[in-house]
Symmetry: C2
């Protein structure tokens, strides 16, 4: 750890891996490797504190120049060279390195120190004149565009001119003389654009580069990214200055990237790519095809062995997958960077148990290394392994899953086509909503993870690939052309992979997730017995369950859903939406209820509905015997059970024009009009319906109570909980509770069987949260309906906003993530916190859960754990994810509290 | 003040007027009069504490019986009679008396102490046998129905039987013998219904009556009323036991009610009604027409003088209008009750200044005695004084004002009729909304202040009379019949008075409010120079303005509105809704903006709108020169400027059926469909529009800035404030502020004129309130949009809920008052409080106001004063009301803090 903040520059040997705050991620990694005695080219880091000073005052700290000079002098002494000297010059690279990496920052300037004199010295020292002039050319180009802000196209044009003049096919064909000409042209561009010459003073080059890195902290793109990621604008970036080593000094030189294990599968062994006679970004840029790292052993066994040794050391040291960048300069290995490596979901689980079994980490740390999001990815259907399909394009994986269908190019075709379809658009707009709804998946050629298509598809759980930029989509011609030239016409089948972003022609076999098959039936899924990923997931689930404090319930409306949820580990039903029981053919009864003109007509319909509801609840109690079943009284506005006003109006108007008037339709239209609301979300629904439609709640409660009695008589253990939706305050709950208790008492008296039935409420309006103390005097449990609570707290109608302005809001960073995906802790979460605190203050044993979709969202689960909820409830599919995250939340909270 | 709580019964001489909590209002008044030495029949009060004990334990406190016995003994000694004795018995009345009077409570049982023996003694002692038996009959009837809970209809039927058998036209025609028969029949009813005889023991009668009063605290009606009025259920009621005096013992006896001044006009002098040879409730029940109190002087000058003396003493003592009930028994005056008298709005103002000028009260107390609600009543147009119209019916005044129009009986007729209409319905439902919108006023024969008609009409500011029960409304026959037999047919003109509830046939002249004429122009309104009410109002306004802490701004969108508001005392515009500027013929431009398919088309439309907006703002700055003008950027969803989806769909479908397709309509329909939202209240509007529709905000800001520059150049003093609507968090505001500042800077640079322009935001979403601290880092002012904040906090769409379930909610006491009328302090108010506290913590000089309709609501103004807002803003009409209430709020807060 760096001991003092009273200076701004630190040699690599002075820091360590915990210095990310001050040195940035890259600087901390270089410091750590240096301290481990690994071959890191010497250098130093200018701290984030210097950047903060620069951002605050518009100039570098006055003492910085001297500090840099001192470190540079040490570096020169160590390398035995002087920066930009005419003979055998020291060159350095300048790289940004913030605590979090982010787009829009100035990344790298290589070869600093070259000028009209040192270029000659470099040529002499290396014996490679073309290399020296090409390096000089690159420096001016890189420096000019990134440090001096000159339009990069001007350098590109000059280079093309030179190629044309020399009859060269590309810059590699330019000889030394031609490159000298390019340098001259470039210097002209710099003079023309900036009014001064390209700086010949190496130290000036260095200072300008450092300052440019600091300045790039505030590019528009970086600012937007930070807003999106909620990274504070005042962190600042560090700058790493490192002596150049060259991977392009002959066949015994080269550069590569490597991972300590396979980041795709988690399998042990060193993985990576190597490119001989190459430098810096060449591997990543992909100008030549690299060779597999293993092949290095053949022609440089010494360096290869050294690299393996270093990789093993790093993995042991960091106790995690590492990736590195390295360069071999004339047979000497140099480490340029290391960091904890990115990995796929499968690799994450597999490596967590490997490290655990190797004794490098404990269970708590293993849990901290896998996420619910990764588990979710493993639970989607996938394309079969080794399916042999060849991707014709690749986009941004925006919503996971594997979808196969015929390509269609607009909503109308999507609706018209009976087969499964993939909607293909350049980008989508609200007009495409019907098409997205009808499609298995969505593919676009534009936009990123926050585009309309991405946001809407994620919201609906549809597979989605966006921004597949190589695709030329011809909507009018109803076809698209892939980069390779393949043309896909409307009606042709394609397959898209929402986890990788790949697009395939034809049908790729989709296989169910082995992880899901394991959850569905660990014993029956014999075939996955030896699947290391399934085994790893299973073990992590056990660890998570042992450690979690939160219960995990499921949202389920049918016995089949409930049984599935139980297999997935649900410890009860946290939300049964009874309105789903009024759909299908029962819709007719609700219509009759609404159209009934007398109380006796209404009673008749309710009497017809009673035995159906009774059957519904009986099935749920059987499936969840011994576990709580939380039943929410009917919630949605009545008109949801009736036809759409506009459709019905058109139908009636057309019938009238034809002189065919249907009395029934007219009556229906009148009812629809009467119940029509401007904003049904804020209208007559939930407890409001219960309080103004006589008999409705009594019917539901009677069905619950009688089903429970029947189950008890059959020897079962039903545990009903009755939940009142959409209350705004204690008064509504008090009245509702009176009515519920009246019916429960009546059923208990008549049957002689008393079933303990909790009565509680949703907290899904800001007012309910704000008055939770008074509500808890009457309610035995709370369940946060965070979907509705988010809608009212933000004033967002989810149906309307996700497809309209959310993409722009995510793009501009107004929202970091849709508040419907992850709970907005600052706003909605504050209300939840108020309700938990004041509810518990009023009733110590108040049971508190959440049944909005956030109950299955990883980051939200951590929040719910933190504020002390009793359980989360989510869809069956999300139950394992919630279990895992609940375990992780408990572990991470523990780690955090002990580290304090 | 009563010194101890360790007993439950207090003689009238032991309490005083401040003992309302323990003795109830009636008991405190009786105690006060007793202590003043006034002739009050002796008696005692059983305290509310005894009631609370009874409610908590289901039985009277054990020590109560002995306490009552002791007080009864004192009473017997004082009167020289024994309760229910066979000779010259003492009789007592038992009356409930809670701190607040409420419906549904058992009120009064008279003549307790009569039984088969004492009835004879009473006859002998008074020499009036019929009187004695009629009293006994009444006791059994009153006691049977209220104390024993026997259906009152059974006593009524027995009485009718007796009348029939005796050929009597009514009970007054029954002679002593017949009454003896009735008593016998009544006793039979009691035995039959309760299984035991009517209690002959006088003390048992008394105890049962006391217990029955306590029990009546929890009748359904009382509970609902307390829920509606937010009166705690655990206050309990007191019971007053008083020796009976008889106003019906001959021509030198009688009973009356009196006011110390005219409660209708506030004019000095004693007002009241007197009925000789009458008792108890007879005056109120109206069985005979009473005489004006003044006439008493003629035939009982001594009692009259004594009464006047007592009234003057009471008024001096209470320093307010008092009303009293009294009885004269054989020439001796007895005071039975006193309380602060109810009064009209006009009387309240007039009396406040009278008492002030008489030196009885100070300015602060004068202010505490008039209310904004009363001022509002004085500001509605009124029917001309002495208009000579004769009311044909009277209902509940539900929404003030005077309306004249032809009677119509349904919405279709209301829409069809070109003349002004009054909608007449038995009761209204959501189907009647179009009719209510089209009408000047609404008249119903059913329902109370919380009925659908009442709630909706109040919400719309329409005159409304409900529950005019005498009207027989024949909707199908399109006519109604008034109690007197007059038939009003559809098309006949009627006049309704929403302040008094009166209904008149024909046209009554409506005159503008003299108070409003005074505000409009105090100098020009010469004609009201000597109007004591106008003068009183004017003086009270001066006092209020001197004392208030809150500024009062107006909501105004046009120069005319602004000028009017300024005349009404507005100190600025707190809300200019710019969307109102896009209606009318400018709607076309907005339509073009929405339909524009290219950025340049949009720019063209915006360029057309710019000069119009510039003109709008120029007019406002001129009207409000030197005062702040807060301009809210466009707020409503764009589709509000387009035709209705259903209407347009029907039109297009019909056109298509006819084979006539209009391309423009199709394009329009497509746009309407694209912009259609399920819940527009929660959709793309406010700042969201500003962030996603390019150029819109810039155009508005430019218009504001350029109009301000022009005004400065013309020598004016414009004070624009720009307000961003519907933000949910700091990020939106930050982005918007950047764009606003860019335009302001641009205008300042081009013009060379810098106009100080505050930039602030509405706080109208729960999330904005919950994150106000961060928002205040960027915003210079907050203005609470309490309408929208109420909608989202409660999840109420005002347009939908006021007419659907609010009446039921008000009826059941779920809501005490519509939260759109008076701010819901518990929920919405808590959010306001959070935002004020955290906003000020982040920015000390944050300016905070409110511009929702609550800004002009009396009780809400007190809340806003209490939590320290800088100003309220409301419609011009409400400005004087807000000024008055702001003054009162400051005064009452002061009084409260000094009384602590």
């Amino acid at each position: 750890m760096v001991g003092t903040n009273h200076r701004f520059v630190f040699a690599f040997s002075e820091g360590d891996k915990d210095g990310r705050e001050l040195l940035g991620g890259k600087g901390a990694g270089l410091a750590e490797m240096t301290n481990l005695g690994l071959p890191v080219p010497p250098g130093f880091t200018v701290s984030t504190e210097a950047c903060r000073h620069y951002l605050a005052h518009g100039e570098l700290p006055p003492e910085l120049a001297a500090e840099i000079a001192a470190h540079l002098a040490r570096l020169e002494t160590e390398r035995g060279k002087r920066l930009g000297a005419a003979e055998d010059p020291l060159l350095v690279s300048v790289r940004s390195g913030a605590k979090f990496s982010m787009p829009g920052m100035m990344e790298t300037v290589l070869d600093i120190g070259l000028n009209d004199d040192s270029v000659v010295g470099l040529a002499e020292a290396t014996g490679r004149e073309r290399f020296a002039w090409d390096s000089y050319r690159r420096l001016i180009q890189m420096f000019g565009s990134t440090v001096l802000g000159i339009d990069a196209a001007r350098f590109g044009a000059a280079l093309e001119d030179a190629e044309r003049a020399n009859g060269a096919a590309g810059d590699l064909d330019l000889d030394t003389a031609a490159l000298r000409g390019v340098v001259k042209a470039y210097k002209g561009i710099v003079r023309d654009a900036t009014g001064r010459d390209f700086p010949q003073d190496p130290r000036e080059q260095l200072d300008m580069a450092v300052q440019a890195v600091f300045g790039s902290w505030n590019t528009e793109r970086a600012r937007v990214y930070r807003r999106q990621e909620r990274i504070p604008h005042d962190l600042g970036t560090a700058v790493n200055v490192m002596a150049m080593v060259y991977g392009n000094l002959g066949p015994d030189s080269g550069t590569g990237v490597a991972f300590t294990r396979d980041p795709a599968t988690g399998a042990p062994g060193v993985y990576g790519d190597y490119l001989s006679e190459a430098q810096g970004e060449d591997v990543v840029a992909g100008i030549r095809t690299p060779i597999p790292l293993q092949d290095l052993e053949r022609f440089d066994p010494v360096s290869f062995a050294e690299l393996r040794r270093i990789m093993a050391l790093l993995e042991d040291h960091y106790r995690d997958l590492c990736d590195v960048e390295f360069t071999i300069e004339r047979g000497k290995l140099w480490m340029l960077q290391t960091r904890i490596g990115k990995r796929t979901a499968a690799a994450a689980f597999r490596m967590a148990v490997q490290f655990l079994d190797d004794g490098l980490i404990d269970v708590e740390e293993a849990l901290s290394r896998v996420t619910g999001e990764q588990l979710a990815q493993l639970m989607f259907p996938q394309f079969a392994l080794h399916h042999g399909g060849k991707a014709i394009a690749r986009g941004v994986p925006a919503s996971p899953g594997a979808a196969v269908g015929v390509a269609v190019f607009d909503s109308e075709a999507a609706a018209r086509t009976e087969a499964k379809v993939i909607l293909v658009r350049r980008e989508t707009s609200p007009d495409d909503l019907p098409g997205i709804i009808a499609a298995e998946g969505v593919l676009t050629s534009r936009g990123g993870k926050t585009s309309h298509a991405a946001v809407v598809a994620r919201g609906m759980g549809k597979t989605c690939v966006v921004g597949a930029e190589g695709l030329e989509i011809d909507t009018e011609g109803r076809q698209f052309t892939a980069p390779g030239g393949l043309v896909v016409r409307e009606g042709d089948t394609i397959s898209i992979d929402g986890t990788t972003g790949s697009v395939y022609p034809g049908t790729i076999e989709v296989v169910p997730s082995p992880v899901v098959e394991h959850f569905e039936s660990p014993l029956a899924a014999e075939k996955h017995r030896s699947d290391p990923v399934v085994r790893a997931v299973a073990r992590m689930m056990v660890y998570a369950d042992e450690r979690r404090r939160l219960g995990v319930h499921a949202n389920a409306d049918t016995p089949a859903d409930a049984e599935r949820a139980r297999r997935f580990g649900a410890e009860g039903i946290g939300l049964c939406r009874t309105e789903h029981m009024f759909l299908g053919e029962r819709r007719r009864h609700v219509e009759e209820l609404i159209l009934a003109e007398t109380a006796s007509e209404q009673d008749k319909v309710l009497a017809e509905l009673l035995p159906m509801q009774l059957g519904d609840f009986a099935g749920l109690f059987a499936a969840m015997d011994g576990l709580p079943v939380t039943i929410r009284l009917i919630d949605p506005p009545l008109h949801e059970f009736l036809p759409d006003l506009t459709e019905l109006s058109v139908k009636a108007a057309l019938a009238e024009a034809r002189g065919e008037v249907d009395e029934g339709d007219i009556r229906l239209l009148r009812a629809v009009r009467r119940l029509h609301e401007q904003n049904p979300m804020l209208g007559l629904r939930g407890v409001r319906l219960g309080l103004v439609v006589p008999g409705l709640v009594a019917m539901q409660v009677r069905a619950i109570a009688e089903a429970a009695v029947a189950r008890v008589r059959a020897g079962g253990d039903p545990r009903p909980e009755i939940m009142v939706p959409l209350i705004g305050g204690a008064e509504e709950f008090e009245l509702m509770r009176e009515e519920i208790e009246r019916v429960l008492l009546d059923v208990a008296e008549v049957s002689g069987v008393e079933v303990r039935t909790r009565i509680g409420t949703m907290i899904e309006l800001p007012r309910a949260a704000l008055t939770a103390g008074r509500i808890a005097e009457h309610a035995e449990f709370f369940s946060f309906g965070t979907n509705d609570l988010t809608q009212t707290t933000w004033g967002f109608s989810r149906d309307d906003v996700e497809g309209s302005f959310f993409p722009a809001y995510l793009e501009k960073g107004v929202l970091a993530v849709s508040p419907f995906e992850s709970l907005d802790e600052e706003g909605v979460g504050r209300l939840v916190g108020i309700a938990v605190e004041e509810g518990r203050a009023a009733r110590k044993d108040l049971l508190i859960g959440v049944c909005g979709e956030h109950g299955g969202d990883p980051s939200s689960v951590h929040f719910f754990d933190r504020i002390g909820l009793d359980y989360v409830s989510c869809s069956a599919f999300r139950v394992p994810i919630a279990r895992l995250e609940a375990g992780r939340a408990a572990v991470l909270a523990e780690l955090e509290s002990t580290s304090r």
